[in-house]
């Protein structure tokens, strides 16, 4: 069981990297908990979570080899 995590924008200032692989998590909440354990500043950061390019707003089962993205507020244009 493996999930690819993409980190964008100001969140990369916290993580220091833009992509990581996480194993042994089965839901989005478990993933966020694991990441926040590693990067405590994520706890107060503002972002939404996208699973395979769709924003999710509640705890969701993560398929094997899925991609989760952490998206801070957009600032294009």
């Amino acid at each position: 069981m493996q999930v690819k995590v993409l980190i964008f924008g100001q969140l990369t200032d916290i993580t220091g990297l833009s992509e990581l692989l996480v194993t042994d998590v089965s839901t989005s909440n478990e993933l966020i908990e694991s990441l926040t354990g590693k990067y405590p500043e994520l706890a107060t950061a503002k972002y939404v979570v996208a699973l395979d390019k769709k924003v999710i707003s509640q705890e969701t089962q993560l398929p094997d080899n899925s991609t989760v993205a952490l998206l801070p507020p957009f600032s294009g244009g």
Partner: protein, 147 residues
């Protein structure tokens, strides 16, 4: 004339004025067009607590942004009688004074072109996963906030 395939809107670096001119020129063969509306975003040398912004470095979740832009495009074409719409957004470094966004809508009559352009600009700023990192004095940075 909705286009069904997601188009790439991203371009490395600033959008040159010559590119905008070529895009305008191409429409001279489309003789049902009566009005074009264009929005250009330009990087401001904002004064911040850390110093003056010299450039913005844009990054995006490209695949997701292109899918989202495709949906916005379909909505806008369904709502307004447009002849065409073109959107270009910079990635990478764009210096202050340079163009980072080019939205271009055309229609038989001005109202549709103008309203569609404005709505596209508002939606893409709110909905596309794109981020701007404001570079300050070449050393420091802060993250752009859209209002």
């Amino acid at each position: 004339m909705t286009e069904r395939k997601p188009k790439n809107i991203f371009k490395d670096g600033p959008i040159p004025a010559s590119f905008i001119a070529e895009s305008i020129q191409k429409h001279s063969t489309q003789k049902a067009i009566g009005g074009h509306s264009i929005f250009l975003g330009q990087v401001r040398a904002d004064e911040t607590e850390k110093g003056v912004v010299s450039a913005i470095e844009y990054t995006a979740f490209e695949e997701m942004a292109l899918e989202k832009m495709h949906l916005i495009r379909e909505d806008i074409f369904a709502k307004y009688p447009l002849t065409c719409m073109h959107v270009h957004h910079s990635l990478g470094t764009v210096e202050a004074g340079e163009i980072c966004l080019f939205v271009f809508t055309s229609s038989a009559h001005r109202k549709a072109a103008i309203n569609a352009c404005e709505e596209t600009v508002e939606r893409l700023k709110a909905e596309l996963p794109v981020w701007g990192k404001e570079i300050i004095g070449g050393e420091s940075h802060q993250w752009k906030v859209n209002r």
